[in-house]
């Protein structure tokens, strides 16, 4: 299943890139699984597990760890928001 992943703000800087496209292996079907898969890549990716209060959105809607993923989804990871 192919996804687009976006990273924002401090997390984008820690990861070292703002976006990527990737093919998920079978068995990854929600946000929790996606985080596990990304962290297992090592390098900068364990940041996803250590950032405080990580937030995630699927197709531009706030999501939860058990939000399911579908082919073509746009998934975003970011720290708590600070606008306004």
């Amino acid at each position: 299943m192919r996804l687009k992943i976006l990273y924002f703000a401090g997390l984008r800087e820690q990861i070292g890139q703002g976006s990527e496209e990737l093919d998920l292996p079978a068995g990854v079907f929600d946000i929790a699984g996606l985080i596990q898969f990304l962290v297992a890549r090592g390098g900068q990716w364990p940041s996803l597990a250590t950032v405080r209060n990580l937030r995630y959105a699927v197709n531009q809607e706030m999501a939860r760890l058990d939000t399911p993923l579908c082919p073509g989804d746009e998934v975003a990871f970011f720290p708590p928001v600070t606008g306004g």
């Binding site: 976006l6 924002f8 703000a9 401090g10 209060n53 959105a57 531009q60 809607e61 706030m62 975003a76 970011f78 720290p79 708590p80 928001v81 600070t82 606008g83 306004g84």
Partner: protein, 150 residues
């Protein structure tokens, strides 16, 4: 209902007049303007950059305003949020709510600000004497948003 995300500044008087547009059923117009402060979390701020998530930002803001219109009997609402580089004293955000009565207008205006602060994908990066830093989210903002969940 107007929701805008823009780099350029806005004129509060012009925007409020456009929201009111002489509608004689409007008795109350509550508004809020947020500015860049020169001091934040104990450090002097020389400039700030607002990053956002294009696409999601507009949807999130529209959803917040729509929810305010569902919760309160208001006539119309306006939300403008700037992104990009800003300096101390610059305007960041304008929220305005027009309604028949002041109670609803005030409540909806505060609700929109509280939800925007915790649910719209904006991130502030400040430049201080010690270098650049991402602004940390405040627990007080989360608490301010939670009080509307009753």
């Amino acid at each position: 209902m107007v929701v805008r995300v823009q780099e350029t500044d806005f004129d509060v008087g012009t925007e409020l007049a456009a929201l009111h547009r002489n509608d004689p059923q409007i008795g109350a117009l509550a508004s809020f303007v947020g500015f860049v402060r020169e001091m934040n979390d104990g450090a002097g701020v020389s400039e700030m950059t607002l990053e956002h998530y294009p696409g999601m930002t507009e949807k999130a803001l529209a959803a917040i305003v729509a929810e305010a219109r569902q919760r309160w009997a208001i006539v119309d609402a306006l939300l403008i949020h700037r992104v990009g580089r800003l300096l101390p004293g610059d305007q960041i955000v304008l929220v305005a709510v027009a309604g028949s009565h002041r109670g609803e207008a005030f409540a909806a205006c505060q609700f929109i600000m509280d939800y925007l602060k915790t649910r719209a994908p904006f991130w502030k990066r400040e430049v201080t004497a010690d270098g650049a830093r991402w602004v940390e989210a405040h627990a007080a903002d989360e608490q301010a948003a939670e009080r509307w969940q009753t």
